[in-house]
Symmetry: C2
Subunit: 574 residues, 2 copies
């Protein structure tokens, strides 16, 4: 049998492999079978460890850490259902390309399929939602097996970090006794360097694009999640081409302080309302489809005279409209920069002026809303956007929160960074993910904009804020239930059908939740008060819960008033 | 394309198929894609529906409903990570043979693998942890497809209910528009009868067992989960054979009011301490290995002169000791009754008297503990057991709670029913499962014995108690962290390694949790006070949280004091 010392060497060498490929953080959930790996990670100076009892929250927290740091993050738990709690975050990580390394521990082979306690089949536990599943060998102390352990640690991290990034799962069968030899010196003895190449087009391919785009009526559509630095590259490309740029809030184009008139902030509001006399010759899409349903319907309405280019470094063909005529499988940033260098700047023309006009008309129509003095979910969301500090981090929940930002984000803000979980758009794990982002840059202003159902779904995550003093400001839009359904076809239902299944009020006193987790609590009574609170958090971040009482019906009425006004001013139904 | 009316007919016919096979309850989580199924289930008179926003809690609640009712229960959610939240409860249901029918809704084929929002690969989402995965056809209104929908509903339920019972997963691709035609009459038009047979041995096989057991020195070992009625059958068999019966708490043998001296209540305490001069000729095991590690080690120490019979209706060979010499693949209850009928009652003898002596010596040794007047986790657990009302329902959490009951359950109690999640023994989903059990018989006394980490892990489940007025009495053993590790080898660690990774204090004020969910809260200050509270709940069940402050070290010291005393009194180290 393997000795304690051999087991320790094997697992420590695995950890050294991970460190060699760049692991700096691990989130551990307590358990017995995972004991040796937990202790080795905890003792490792190069690795910062966090502890969270609820594995679901632990996994979303790791997701947030990795989102903000752009580095791989390790997860570790014991055997059994513990690992199954990771599943929602793993699905999200896989869809949004976040490199999580999931370490589960397991009974050894002789205790499988025989009814041993806390044992279940952990092979391919996460199905196709991880890039790779690795069943590790039982620890052994031979040179061959130490090389193997190092190699698996090193390449698991690298696999997770290769484009398209994503989660990798390693399952460790471990025998008792489970305590490692903590007297072994713990430092990385071996390293491997990785020079990672990127997919780039040839000069000939680039020129073909330049020739097809230069001087044409075009539109840039930027989806996916981008840093402010990456966002600037897309804006520069749009400026050079003199094309309007439609984007997702998470692309961080509308949250940049850039006031280029080509940034179509309100596309969701006007794009379906305008009388379009000219259609684009070219549409160039980067990454996922933006959140705006109206933008999607507009793209769908284009006929085949519009050439659609889809820049997709993942090669995953994520074009739900199946319009792509030219697929560009290359690193998005490198490609955008190379095209920008090769395009001759174009003076503005009727094509882009038309878009700028629509944008300005919409902005005027929004004046009423942005000058509104009453506090509601819409005005609160607009204010959060306006009051983000330079380099602040704003996490937006799914359903309504991100849609408010998508529709109403004005240009008068600092450059901040917007985050969200838009791989699969769940309302689960939002608090924990936001706390992972906050933990990466706790000195900055960190705000979470969230509804009451998402808040309830991941309340356990707040323990992380309490344990690690994470200064997150939570702005809770509380309309006591599922606000999104009032915007969808379900609203046609009778109240007896709607309220219990879609409205689902939960009637929770969130001031108690704040108290439970040592957050400061304020119920915002006015827009001025909210403004002061947000300004204070720009200077002094702290863990607080600001509750804004909303009304599901009011959200819809405000939205409809804007759209009705636009219908009158802009073309179609004039 | 399918019309609204055709879609409604197809899905309603599916629901009718499920009703035909005995579905009476469904737990629904709100979402958009699941709209037509949610509305049809909600409108169905034969089906009681519950709503829960957190799908993880929803699934464990369904697990509890099915545990207590012994009937299939339906789960329904929308697409995406929502479904992944079901995974922990599904793994547990699969391991503990609970018939959940999991309905997930999905984008239709044309919106898959193309980046459509809230879409992910839901094929075989739950891997080998469901008995069957069914990808349903897109709704169509032809007779062939209505027959198909009925058939899949009917047989999915029946598949889940066949031995070994377990979860079944059906994935529904649904196209917009999602609102069904609610004017269609909703009643079950078609039924199918099922006469389900059970595995039974032939007379020849039965007589072979009788001949091998009659008059021999034997031991019955009963694991798994059983109703009090089933437990009585095992006790009757032990009485007839004059054999001691070792069991798991969930077998409900020690919670029966039966005072047969053959029920070895304290086996975990004495079985490793006694000087055993005679070894059994025969061990007959039913179902899973009981929780007692000492019992398991004792069984492991038997040599090959002991014949081991393993009665296992599932055919899953869940014998981690691999000792089985005769595998009896037949319905456990039928088999036990048939053997009992054929055995000639034996007068007691030295074999069983020896066991009865050990048991009595242990009971004396426990006097100090059971007469202890101070309140601690151990005395509180013993008291909960003593104060269960006749037909009361006690749910015990994993880790320490169930072990206290296994070691210290005295015979002076009413016959009540014990429940737990012992498929994979997770500390997740405990509150929700207990509430599912409570919802099935809310008029009875319903108690949950739980530690603070398990309580924290599933706090969201409390919303179900609030929403549906479920009168659960929660006895919270709060030692501020992971108490089980103080009983395991991890306790040898230095405090700097132990506390952050295994101790994991969470410092929560649970009175706030009670307030949040409208539960009455009492911090028990004395054993007398706890006694009065438990007696009150026998008469008037209500939703309350009784907190007992514990100390991890004290639990270990009390346990060791008992075992040290036994070592002196009983053989080995005398």
């Amino acid at each position: 049998m393997t000795t304690q010392s051999e087991m320790t060497n094997y697992l420590q060498t695995f950890v050294e492999g991970m460190i060699s490929s760049g692991v700096e953080q691990a989130v551990i959930s307590p358990g017995s079978r995972s004991t040796p790996l937990a202790l080795l990670l905890h003792r490792q100076e190069q690795i910062e460890t966090f502890i969270e009892v609820d594995e679901r929250s632990a996994a979303f927290f790791a997701l947030g850490l990795s989102k903000a740091s752009c580095k791989p993050v390790v997860l570790l738990c014991t055997s059994g259902t513990a690992a199954a709690n990771y599943y929602p975050a793993i699905c999200e990580a896989n869809a949004s390309h976040i490199p999580l390394i999931v370490l589960t521990t397991d009974r050894p082979h002789e205790l499988r399929q025989v009814g041993a306690p806390q044992a279940m089949d952990q092979f391919h536990l996460f199905q196709h939602h991880v890039k790779e599943f690795i069943e590790m060998a039982i620890p052994e102390g031979t040179k061959v097996m130490l090389d193997y352990a190092y190699w698996q640690g090193m390449r698991a991290i690298d696999t997770a970090c290769q484009t398209p990034k994503g989660p990798v799962h390693l399952n460790f069968p471990l025998r008792e006794p489970l305590l490692p030899d903590l007297n072994r010196s713990l430092f990385a003895e071996r390293t491997t360097e990785i020079f990672a190449g990127k997919k780039q087009l040839s000069e000939k391919q680039l020129i073909e694009c330049v020739d097809a785009w230069q001087g044409k009526k075009g539109v840039l559509v930027v989806g996916g999640t981008h840093t402010p630095e990456e966002a600037a590259v897309f804006i520069e490309l749009a400026e050079r081409l003199s094309w309007p740029i439609l984007s997702d809030p998470l692309a961080n184009i509308t949250s940049s302080s850039n006031d280029s008139p080509l940034i179509m902030r309100y596309a969701d509001l006007f794009i379906q309302e305008v009388e379009m006399s000219q259609y684009p010759d070219v549409v160039v899409r980067f990454g996922m489809m933006p959140i705006s349903k109206n933008t999607m319907f507009w793209l769908q309405s284009l006929n085949e005279t519009t050439m659609v280019y889809f820049v997709d470094e993942t090669g995953e063909w994520q074009d739900q409209l199946k319009q792509t005529q030219v697929a560009i499988q290359a690193d998005e940033q490198t490609f955008a920069k190379e095209i920008t260098e090769r395009i001759i700047r174009r003076t503005s023309d009727s094509w882009c002026n038309q878009w700028i006009d629509w944008q300005e008309t919409t902005e005027q129509q929004l004046t009423e809303l942005s000058e509104m003095k009453t506090l509601n979910e819409t005005t609160a969301s607009i204010l959060v956007h306006k009051k983000m500090a330079k380099k602040g981090q704003l996490f937006v929940s799914n359903s309504n929160a991100i849609r408010f930002l998508d529709r109403f984000s004005t240009p008068d803000n600092n450059q901040y960074q917007l985050f969200g979980n838009r791989g699969i758009n769940g309302i689960d794990g939002i608090i924990s993910t936001a706390l992972g982002v906050c933990a990466t840059n706790p000195e900055r202003q960190n705000v979470l904009l969230i509804g009451d159902l998402a808040m309830y779904h991941d309340m356990n995550g707040l323990l992380l804020a309490k344990r690690y003093n994470l200064p997150l400001t939570i702005v809770l839009l509380n309309n006591n239930g599922g606000g999104i359904f009032s915007f969808l076809s379900q609203r046609q239902l009778e109240k007896d059908d709607f309220e219990p299944i879609f409205g689902t009020p939960i009637d929770l006193d969130f001031s108690l939740v704040a108290q439970l987790y040592d957050a400061e609590y304020v119920k915002a009574e006015s827009l001025e008060q909210l403004e002061l609170l947000l300004e204070a958090t720009q200077k002094q971040p702290k863990f607080q819960l600001i509750e804004v009482i909303g009304d599901r019906q009011e959200n819809v009425l405000l939205y409809e008033r804007v759209v009705d006004g636009l219908k009158e001013k802009l073309g179609k139904n004039k």
